[in-house]
Symmetry: C2
């Protein structure tokens, strides 16, 4: 019998953290209001969203034409979900008023039978559910449901939940195994995990059943027959003609989900699907679904993931490709795909209690997900390369999908609100609990009030993670509370000991699957624990089967991947060579406009300029290398100082004894 | 006053060479008959050509629809040109009959006023010259003219030349500075160099004037006005909507040609243009045109050329990109572009007498041009990558333009006949002369009869080049003949001495700009010279500004680039490391089906299999390397033993003293 760890309520978690206060206030105070302006088309020079306007038209409150992607509705849904998390335990009257206004509008646009999708309502009212492969109605519905559950859980307001319930009821009436229902599943998974979430919130088993129906049907002959029948409908037209050449693997419909062993197809779709498999599997007691999700997770993280926690190696199809195909400069690594990888990691951790899943969630979060936003909070990356030479991006259209700088908004705007909802939902990644264990996954300062089965406790954490190593934890348990703590020990380090900070004693802990479990803490008392998470500046290496990283090394410290930028290291970053025997050490903080950017420095080398202009190829000579102190910045903070080159993986040269820094 | 070296007549050059007999007989006896069958749509399972059929329809000999690219006519033109060269001094009755039949057909399809283009004749008879940017009529005409000149020069038959003259007269009546003529130039250069060639054959200065008119007009506001006016014509449609986003630089119309300093745009177009600039410049005595071509050549070979003599880094636009953008696995390097680079190199050598130009022509020829054909002669590459992992090509559509194996034919079939005409026209690259100097550029065994200003001579050469180093030259001059020889000394080696093979004496030579000039040879005597061209197995290095080759080395011997193939070195070629201190040496011949493939071997290293499956990233450790003897084959012969990985640039590791081969 599988058991799932429970998340804490977000209003129990009071974050007050050096690193996260910055990012969360940027998202809360700047990004979310900005996105509302965008959704209302009030930001000059930004691409048109029309998202709110579409709802007004669908509600009969405005006249006009639908504009935008077929899934444009999902932008406001993810924004609402983000606002919901922001409102947990916080007073944000303007944002809340905007959100309530949005909910009212959504309600007005909802059809009498619960259906809500402005594209089909405005443009093709007779064609509901006629193009499951591309129509994205169920995808949009899923985000509405996720938003509704979050809005209800964090504000107590039911209006959006009621809307979602009517919508979900419509879906459950429409899809299922019964002969009169549609036997089909969506081209873009999302509804499945949303229905499980709605089941958890409402207890209505029909939602779980329908989620499981979609999962069980996917990849069967029957599911593909539906797609094929759709295309034979008179008047059928492709919504995405540019994806017509892609096979069923792109929508994970090439095989029944339990038979899928390698991550395939559109990366966001894949990871939303695998997340739903974990969700539905644990709720329905179907281990085969969870096991299948675990196999797929392993394939992703052992074969198809960039060091930055980015996934999706191909632009065309925005998809997984094959094992070890991890190109640094023409990858896709959509921001949303790393959000989805965090979602999968959290879910598998919750069923497996294994720290390796949260290691990956953390890697995706601190690198690609945060890297998807500027430090201002108003510019966004969709594609997250590990190597950029701006001149090449401009000149070689093979790289057309890679941009050298974040944009104010995009025509396909899935990523910006996905970042927002993830950052505002940080608490759900920080902690989880079973009846007597509180799992601590992310190291973030603040106060948390947690109810355990036998009582409650307050946990206070102080840390400068991910830049500093010390963690201090003060836990006060109410009398009678049985509670132990399980601290995640990141796979890249070893926590030397957990100490009683008052008496200086070492606290006995049990190491198990990536966690340090304390014993049951004395109830009705305050314990003060402290430990060090050695951040360990470390040179990383990729599996030799990754051709793109052969002979190279990349720098990490703690969960952060570091990169070199032209701003600090000059042009032609490819001329820099590193020797992993030269240890990197913290360097100065660099002004980053919105916040300072901590750096690492290391003794390295750079090919000297001598004669280099004059030739393109020559006979091999030992390169004439000059000592060159590199300055590396966290990957998540790159491109906050103008356009320039950036590079994560650096060619290695061995120069025994040549290091000034690590010997000095 | 510039002077241009003269080419020899092909029938003066009797090639009888170990290396070239193979390639030339494959082309003559297999490829040319095969291509005739293709052009007649008689090869099962090959893509339809319809080229001959289009001419039949245009001539009123058949009914049907036009099929193929707008420039489909050029396929037969280049084939005819290749056959013309093949017929020089050779009896090939079947091929000649087919060619004569083709010429008759072309004549029947030619319009009364000299116009010939089956696309416009069949499909858009009212729209001649209405789409200069995309219509390719002048491009097709240029290839017809080149074929006609070659057919006349090598067979003495005038029919095709007469056709070309009528066609050229039509063009000269249509285009020019006079008010009543069209003020425009073609989107695809080719007519310019063809008109200069026709001028040389016929002495008619109008052809040179029109060529120069096109060159002088190109890139001016006036030339662009014409393109813009064309698009405003009622009923205008784009022939290549997929290229609509490309700018004027793609067709080298962004600037007047003399102001172009960096190679830009479609690589074949660019190099045909620069060739025409050299041609027209020298004939018209316009040094500024030749100087501009030299600057552009230098940019290509010092900034934008692959080691294999491939050019064109981007698939979209098939174009040059920016300096040092030389990706090995998503490059384009169209076979035709390397043919065009040879053409430019030959022309600049002929005006400049500098061996560096022929070095590049040789590099393009022996690597990418020959690599464009299979050893069977019936399969062809359009794109020539330097690194292939077949699984990645299948899975990641960013690489969709790169194929892991040659094809029987293509929908755009410019490359196959371009290879054929180049191989059959080898003689034009081998020699050139001024009144008393015979320049020897390529080392190819055989007998050559050459007329100098003062008499004639016979030169016999014996060599195993490019695999063997010795060259023996026997020259017999007629009495009174003043003649010296100039042997090209490839830039990658140093010819130690030229010896009198009979008496063993060293012959005095003067080194100048890449050539060893003998003194005037005694007339009426036979001289026997011999020398050694050290082929020098050598590890090459790219400029450190080329990010893709940082920390890597590639193997060359003589003019040949070598590569590793999976067939000889196993899968995961990226796991191989080389130490340039370990010298490569000749290895065994490898059975290649049609001929044996000479190999090189070198002590190298391979990352050991230990645990490699289990991880994707880990902390840097010195790689556990196993000694591994690599086997490298000439790049031009890759992919003749099935589909597999291939790699030119190999990561370097320094392992002083670890070599078994070079110390043994």
């Amino acid at each position: 019998m599988m058991e799932r760890l429970e998340e804490l309520r977000l209003d129990e978690i009071h974050i007050d953290d050096g690193f996260w206060n910055f990012y969360r206030s940027v998202v809360r105070d700047r990004m979310l209001p900005y996105q509302w302006e965008i959704l209302n088309d009030r930001v000059p020079d930004a691409p048109k969203s029309h998202c709110v306007e579409n709802f007004k038209i669908a509600a009969g409150l405005a006249e006009g034409e639908y504009y935008g992607q077929v899934f444009q509705d999902s932008d406001i849904a993810k924004w609402l979900e983000a606002v919901a998390y922001a409102l947990a335990g916080a007073e944000l009257p303007e944002l809340e008023a905007a959100a309530d206004q949005a909910v009212d509008l959504l309600r007005k646009a909802q059809q009498e039978d619960g259906y809500l999708d402005t594209y089909y309502t405005i443009k093709e009212p007779g064609n509901r559910w006629s193009n499951l492969r591309e129509g994205h109605e169920l995808y949009v519905a899923g985000h509405m449901i996720e938003a509704a559950a979050a809005y209800y859980e964090n504000t107590g307001k039911r209006k959006l939940l009621d809307l979602a319930v009517r919508m979900a009821d419509n879906i459950c009436r429409t899809f299922g195994p019964e002969p009169e229902k549609i036997h089909g599943c969506p081209g873009h998974p999302e509804i499945e995990l949303a229905l499980v979430k709605l089941y958890r919130v409402t207890g209505e088993k029909a939602y779980l059943d329908t989620a499981k129906y979609f999962l069980d049907l996917r990849g069967t002959d029957l599911s593909r027959e539906r797609y094929e029948a759709e295309q034979k409908r008179p008047g059928f037209r492709h919504i995405f003609p540019e994806f017509e050449h892609l096979g069923y693997d792109n929508i994970q419909a090439h095989k029944p989900v339990r038979m899928q062993k390698k991550a395939a197809g559109h990366a966001v779709r894949a990871l939303y699907l695998y997340s739903a498999m974990a969700d539905a599997g644990v709720e329905a007691g179907d281990e085969s679904l969870v096991e299948a999700a675990k196999v797929l997770f392993d394939n992703v993280v052992k074969r198809q993931m960039f060091l930055t926690g980015g996934v999706g190696s191909a632009a065309d199809g925005e998809c997984f490709t094959c094992d070890y195909d991890l190109p640094n400069n023409y990858n896709y690594s959509e921001t949303c795909a790393s959000v989805a990888l965090m979602m999968l990691g959290k879910r598998l951790f919750q069923t497996e209690r294994d720290g390796k899943y949260m290691d990956i969630a953390e890697q995706a979060l601190y690198n690609t997900v945060l890297g998807g936003m500027s430090l201002k909070g108003t510019e966004f990356f969709y594609v997250n390369p590990l190597e950029v030479v701006p001149e090449q991006l401009a000149a070689n259209r093979t790289l057309h999908h890679v941009l050298p700088q974040r944009r104010k908004w995009m025509g396909v705007a899935c990523c910006p609100p996905n970042i927002a909802r993830t950052v505002m939902n940080l608490g759900s990644y920080m902690y989880a609990k079973d009846p007597e264990t509180l799992f601590v996954n992310l190291y973030v300062s603040g106060k948390t009030d947690v109810s355990m089965e036998t009582g409650c406790a307050r946990l206070e954490m102080r840390t400068g993670y991910p830049f500093e190593e010390q963690v201090a934890v003060k836990v006060t348990t109410a009398p009678g509370t049985r509670m132990r703590l399980a601290f995640r020990e990141p796979g890249w380090t070893r926590i030397r000991e957990v100490r009683d900070a008052v008496h200086g004693r070492t606290i006995p802990v049990k190491r198990e699957r990536g966690y340090l479990y304390t014993e049951i803490l004395p109830s009705g008392e305050t314990a003060e624990l402290s430990f060090c998470i050695p951040l360990r500046e470390r040179w990383m290496q990729a599996n030799p089967r990754v051709p793109f990283d052969a002979g190279k090394a990349a720098l990490m410290r703690g969960p952060l991947v570091y990169c070199l930028e032209e701003a600090d290291n000059g042009k032609n970053l490819a001329k820099i060579r590193v020797d992993p025997d030269c240890k990197a050490v913290p360097g100065p903080d660099i002004p980053g406009g919105e916040r300072s950017i901590p750096s690492l420095k290391a003794q390295a080398f750079r090919v000297s300029e001598t004669e280099e202009e004059a030739w393109l190829y020559r006979e091999f000579r030992e390169e004439s290398l000059e000592p060159f102190e590199i300055r590396a910045v966290p990957y998540c903070m790159w491109n906050n100082r103008g356009v320039g080159e950036m590079r994560v993986w650096l060619p290695v040269v061995r120069k025994t004894g040549a290091c000034n820094i690590c010997r000095g």
